[in-house]
């Protein structure tokens, strides 16, 4: 009804109309990308570890100088830790998911394959039980398969077996059954895959170019002294955690006092630390998006108020000629809707362009099409809310205004 009427009015206010359209387009473009980046970052922080997080504590310690009796001390440590109340399982391991050190190697079905696939290397005894991992095929290591760390370091080929994650198995063997297959890990002899676990993430994000590679991990049957790994993973009853954390230092010091306790962290704290920066970035983007929407809304309010004031006489005449308050209200609402729609259309093109540019420079994934309607609806709603005040003020202009010369 008012459509062409509004267009002709806007044509007379080209500059102001163009500015508000550009503002809406820019906001739409930036906010769409921000919404996407926020969901991307927050999704990252939900990455599953595969381990029983609420039952795990990581105890880190290190020796001074070279220790000749490290293996014996480690065995005593494990006995002492298992004796603490609430402790279900303990392993001396080399790294923990989302921890700050990471052991990786390249694995392949072929010997000396230059295109091996990078995989996280967990070492330790009883990891499956301590981490609470789920075996989906095959078996856990048998006691006779474990090799001392020093021996494995001197000759990696003496390791006979390996357990890998389902994600890594699928990457290497696709639909084939991985059990019993050979896996070369840079050594002269391959290891045989004896088990497949459902899920275990490695400490790092893996290879950016290979989606899902964070889940490429394996476990080697190695008996690790605390000097080799420096992590005791402890699975315990969450109710006993505080008591455990308070007594663990003294317990280990009783075994051998000449060591330095580095830190002990619950798994929740480790996860929190690993994703802190992603969360900070997400909050920053949320803040910027809200500020942008607010600024744009205020811009709409400012412009609409000015137009209402400028057209006071015109509105009065229309009212005198029979237009209802509702007609006037809807006129301004429709006008805002038209401006917003043009802005949103431009904004979507812009959003796509910004995303292409971000993809080329910052390894950001492609903007999914579902995000675009979110940005559009947001701006339509905000535009309508912003214009409501000035439009209602316009609607209250009495017809008598027409008879006055301001």
């Amino acid at each position: 009804m008012h459509f062409f009427h509004i267009l002709s009015t806007l044509r007379r206010h080209k500059t102001a109309a163009a500015l508000i359209i550009i503002e809406i387009a820019l906001t739409c473009g930036i906010v769409s990308n921000a919404v996407f980046l926020i969901s991307d970052r927050l999704a990252r922080t939900d990455r599953p570890s595969g381990v029983v997080e609420d039952e795990l504590v990581d105890v880190r310690l290190t020796g001074i100088g070279t220790k000749s009796d490290a293996a014996a001390v480690t065995a005593q440590d494990l006995v002492a830790l298992r004796a603490l109340p609430g402790v279900k399982a303990v392993s001396s391991i080399n790294m923990v998911p989302f921890g700050n050190s990471s052991w990786n190697t390249d694995g392949s079905r072929l010997k000396d394959d230059p295109n091996g696939v990078s995989v996280g290397q967990y070492m330790g005894q009883g990891i499956i039980e301590t981490f609470g991992l789920r075996l989906v095929a095959g078996r856990d290591f048998q006691p006779g398969e474990y090799v001392e760390f020093a021996a494995a370091q001197a000759n990696p080929s003496i390791l006979s077996s390996v357990i890998i994650t389902q994600a890594y198995a699928t990457r290497l063997f696709h639909d084939e059954n991985p059990l019993g297959k050979q896996l070369y890990l840079g050594g002269k002899e391959p290891q045989i895959i004896v088990g497949v676990i459902e899920q275990l993430t490695r400490p790092t994000d893996g290879d950016v170019a290979e989606p899902g590679s964070a889940g490429f991990a394996m476990i080697l049957p190695i008996v690790l002294p605390f000097t080799g790994g420096g992590h005791y993973a402890v699975r315990l009853d969450p109710g006993q955690r505080d008591h455990f954390l308070a007594t663990v230092d003294a317990t280990l010091a009783k075994v051998d006092p000449s060591r330095i306790m580095l830190e002990h962290k619950t798994f929740g704290a480790i996860r929190e630390g690993y994703f802190k920066q992603d969360r900070a970035m997400a909050y920053l983007l949320i803040g910027v998006s809200l500020a942008l929407l607010l600024i744009t809304a205020l811009g709409v309010v400012g412009l609409a108020s000015f137009w209402v004031q400028q057209r006071t006489r015109q509105i009065g005449i229309r009212r005198a000629l029979g237009a209802t308050r509702g007609n006037i209200l809807r006129y301004f609402q429709l006008e805002n809707f038209i401006l917003a729609t043009i802005g949103i259309a431009l904004g979507m093109v812009l959003a796509y362009g910004i995303n292409l540019w971000l993809m080329s420079k910052y390894a950001v994934p492609r903007l999914p099409a579902e995000v675009l309607p979110i940005g559009a609806v947001l701006l339509w709603v905000i535009g309508q809310i912003a214009v409501l005040g000035p439009a209602m003020r316009a609607a209250t202009i009495p017809p008598a205004i027409a008879t006055r010369s301001v």
Partner: protein, 432 residues
């Protein structure tokens, strides 16, 4: 005249307080956000050693086997121990330093202070000269100490204070990883950022507190932190002959001629390694000075660049918002402008008057923006990042903030002021 325009601007701004506050806040937030992120970018991209950054070069060689070779590949970021030790012994550069990062347990031997861990650097004598390390007491060790794996150490002031209670530590012994070392030098607080000589232990990491001669560190088997990359099986990846890169090697060279001469030497060295069959890939030598090295290793986190772009986008929206609001404001005053024009004010005068008003908004917005940037940097310093404490506003950035605010507001005022001064006096006077 300016005083009159300022007075007019004050009256005009006071007439519409809400709108004025909105415009000022828009500029303030835009400028504040941009300056916060740009300051972070500025401090992270800074030159850690401006007086010498063009004379210090990181050395890269290509020692890997042919397997997996692709043309155009960069050589590894670090050297093998064998290559680095050979190059430091050859001494063909003006100064050279072999080094790697490590951690060591310090046993103060005091009942009130249990053993603790510090970051250390295992390096050679020239390190201190090359990187302008500031000594408060004592000196660096000598090349002779390097040769004989002397049991000596240079420690940071912080460590001396902690262990000995003062910086007067020369000649005293400090127990590092179970071995007594004689302290021969104490360094003042010193933390070039980025931590350019070894980016494997974090680009903006903590400073090392203990320095031990390379040869000593190998004899004592002091621990290594950083990255180790191997391409062949070895029982000890830190051994002399291991096919692993984990050692950094820096040289100091003055002038293009010497750089070329050293490059030629490295190429010759690589050729020789080829001949004896140690190297398999084509000769690939890289000499990068400090800033080239930082750029190559991309020390500025991409999140920080992304944040800067977001902030600039935000500023752009704020700017367009202010342009729109100023435009409506000036056009609303068409009748006033018409009267002034009719009374003899030139278009130019009107233009300047409107620009002064826009400038006033920018000035106030800029000052506020400066405050917001200060607050923003305060927030950044409390973020969980390694570079957090570096986020400080320095004088150039302070000036830049102010310039940006003024430029923004004048830019914002330009179009509205131009449109405003186009008002035709006759029409405005007639219609009212």
């Amino acid at each position: 005249m300016l005083a009159y325009y300022l007075d007019l601007a004050r009256r005009s701004l006071a007439r519409n307080v809400g709108l004025t506050i909105l415009m000022i806040l828009a500029i303030a937030f835009g400028v504040g956000a941009s300056m916060t992120t740009m300051t972070v970018l500025h401090v992270l991209a800074q030159d850690p050693i401006p007086q010498k950054s063009h004379d210090l070069y990181n050395v890269q060689l290509e020692p890997r086997r042919m397997l997996g070779y692709q043309a155009g590949q960069e050589p590894p970021d670090q050297l093998t121990r064998l290559d680095a030790e050979t190059l430091v012994r050859a001494g063909k550069a003006e100064h050279q330093a072999i080094m790697t990062g490590g951690q060591a347990a310090i046993e103060p031997g005091r009942t009130d202070l249990p053993p603790f861990f510090v970051d250390g650097r295992w390096t050679s004598a020239d390190f201190f000269k090359m990187f302008d390390a500031p000594f408060v007491a004592g000196t660096a060790w000598s090349e002779d100490d390097d040769l004989h794996a002397a049991r000596v150490a240079v420690i940071a002031r912080e460590l001396a204070d902690k262990v000995f209670g003062s910086i007067d530590a020369i000649g005293k012994t400090i127990r590092v990883e179970g071995t007594d070392l004689r302290v021969i030098g104490v360094l003042d607080a010193w933390r070039p950022q980025p931590h350019f000589w070894d980016l494997n232990t974090g680009s903006f990491g903590k400073a090392e507190l203990v320095f031990v001669p390379w040869s000593t560190s190998r004899e004592l088997k002091l621990g290594h932190i950083g990255s180790v990359d191997c391409w062949a099986e070895s029982s000890d990846s830190l051994a002399l002959g291991a096919s692993c890169v984990w050692v950094q090697f820096w040289v100091e060279l003055h002038g293009a001629e010497r750089v070329e001469a050293y490059r030629a030497y490295l190429e010759h060295y690589s050729d020789e390694q080829h001949r004896v069959g140690r190297y398999e890939r084509p000769v690939n030598v890289k000499l990068r000075d400090v800033m080239e090295w930082l750029q190559y290793r991309k020390v500025v986190p991409s999140d920080v660049r992304l944040q800067t772009w977001i902030a600039l986008g935000f500023l752009l929206v704020c700017l367009i918002n202010t342009v729109g609001l100023l435009l409506t404001k000036f056009l609303r005053r068409s009748s006033e402008i018409g009267v002034r024009r009719a009374l003899g004010a030139s278009k130019r005068a009107i233009f300047v008057q409107l620009l002064v008003e826009a400038g006033a908004i920018g000035l106030i917005g800029g000052v506020l923006g400066l405050g917001l940037a200060w607050l923003g940097l305060f927030a950044v310093r409390h973020q969980p990042t390694s570079y957090a404490e570096l986020a400080q506003l320095d004088l150039p950035m302070l000036a830049a903030t102010f310039g940006l605010a003024m430029l923004t507001s004048l830019f914002a005022g330009l179009l509205p002021a131009w449109r405003g001064c186009q008002v035709t006096p006759a029409i405005q006077l007639k219609s009212h």
